[in-house]
């Protein structure tokens, strides 16, 4: 069984479908088309530093950061309560947290469309108690709400899995030594749950930065995040060189970010989703 030939089809597949596409992405990002032909240039990256594009980047990062903080604030207590030992029907409760993740995220996003729109349920209910319709859709609020709604389980689950693995004798020891519940939490549970928090942050922040669907559906046609910018460059503007450059930068940001958190997780024996 010391043979490696079984992996050859896969290696062939990797070369064609992983390495060559990455090479093409790099090639397009460092070249520009001129009337006389294609030349190597850093213009695409230079163009990205123009204020209007930096603004898009800043906006994407800010919204993703806000969503991540909201998910953490909402999700940490939930994970803590789910992992508490006196909770009845615990398995059902955890399953209920996972279930929405099995629903297509387009449909989850679309569900908010029907709630938030001008003639939607929320505005109709508000109208019944005499409040004029609000503009709930097509703004930052709607986009952040969509992100939090879609990614909240990704924050709860890793934190929950780390919290429920904590050796209970540690908590008992802290209590025996006279620590009150708050102190036990701050000195024992919280530090031990940090690896879960780190993977939760990664799993919410990364997809939130790169999304173009949530921003298109809940932010409206004019709403531009970095993902929408890439989509536009390829599908409407047709500037593949600039689009590739933005994609490459985004990929680097994500991979470097992942590198940081995964190193942290390895040291701490963190709990991921897989």
């Amino acid at each position: 069984m010391k043979k490696t030939w079984a992996a050859y089809p896969y290696i062939f597949w990797i070369i064609i479908f992983t390495i060559v596409p990455m090479g093409l992405l790099i090639y397009f990002s460092i070249t520009v088309k001129t009337p006389t032909g294609t030349i190597i240039s850093m213009d695409n990256f230079r163009r990205f530093t123009e204020p209007i594009y930096l603004k898009v980047l800043a906006r994407s990062l800010t919204l993703a950061a806000i969503s991540t903080v909201c998910c953490l604030l909402l999700g940490y207590p939930a994970a803590l309560f789910l992992s508490s030992r006196d909770l009845r029907h615990k398995n059902t409760m955890v399953l209920l947290m996972v279930l929405p993740m099995w629903m297509n995220f387009l449909l989850r996003t679309y569900a908010w469309l029907t709630l938030l729109e001008r003639k939607g349920l929320i505005n109709t209910l508000l109208g019944k108690i005499g409040i004029p319709p609000l503009n709930l859709l097509y703004n930052d609020f709607a986009v952040v709400l969509g992100m939090v709604y879609n990614f909240l389980p990704f924050m709860v689950l890793p934190i929950y899995s780390v919290l429920s693995k904590i050796d209970h004798s540690l908590i008992e020891a802290a209590e025996d030594l006279g620590a009150d519940p708050l102190r036990t939490f701050l000195k024992v549970r919280l530090p031990l749950s940090l690896p879960g928090v780190m993977s939760g942050i990664t799993m919410v922040f990364m997809p939130a930065v790169t999304t173009f669907v949530i921003s298109r559906l809940l932010g409206g046609g004019q709403y531009t995040l970095i993902g929408n910018l890439i989509e536009q460059q390829f599908l409407t503007v047709g500037d593949w060189n600039f689009g590739s450059a933005i994609s490459l930068m985004m990929m680097l940001i994500i991979l470097i970010g992942m590198g940081f958190t995964s190193r942290y997780e390895k040291e701490q024996e963190g709990g991921g989703l897989w």
């Binding site: 939930a78 449909l107 989509e231």
Partner: protein, 267 residues
Amino acid sequence: MVKYFLKRGYLFLLYAFLYAPIIVLAFYSFNSSRSRGTWDGFSLKWYIQMFQDRQILTSLYYSLVIGIISSVVATIIGTMAAFGINNMKTLPRTTVMNLTYLPVLNPDIVTGISFMLLFIFIRLKLGFITLLLSHITFNIPYVILSVLPRIKQLDKNMYEAALDLGATPAVAFRKVVLPEIMPGVITGLLLAFTLSLDDFVISFFNTGSGVSTLSITIYSMARRGINPKINALSTLMFVSILTLLVIINLMMSRQKNSKEKESKEVL
């Protein structure tokens, strides 16, 4: 006691936040008028219209065909690859594994675009074939990641014992190795199928005119605004996923029970 109710109450509110939109969506799929704010009586007309909508039916067909073919092909290539990778020396193994992780970690949109660049570069017309190839590609890593741990746990002595007892390598593989790794292979297959059905971003960039999956159809309909047919479709999809999960859970618990019985009998 108060604390317990506070905890329960908090979880209840959070679940309400998670489920209310889905329930409202399902509720209005039975509304006889197009409006979302008012209730005009019970009706199944959106379900009937959905089943008469050619676009929805063809995209359901494409989703299923691509899901099945891509998960099966990915499972075959991925399982073989897992065996090969397991036998590799350290340096090639880490190289291949890092390349395997790349599409998993990379943002979907970057993966989708890099495939698109490749297909246009080799002048393959965007359509069914490109959609299928891209789905196979993003499915393989998940198969490898679920099969590889099983192969690592294999007891080599069992395989060699089978050979010593006169089994040909093929028979030994089929009778000894395959049953051991099967749970990993099945998990990989199901994971690949689910991911393929669920994918939108990569499909969006790699499809051509005429070919669209369910996700792409939903996106293009949702972009034009509210459409009660989508409500009907999502209700059906949610109910079928729910049933599937319940069945899988029941099967797994039954398997577990019978295994426990077996082990008790052995003891």
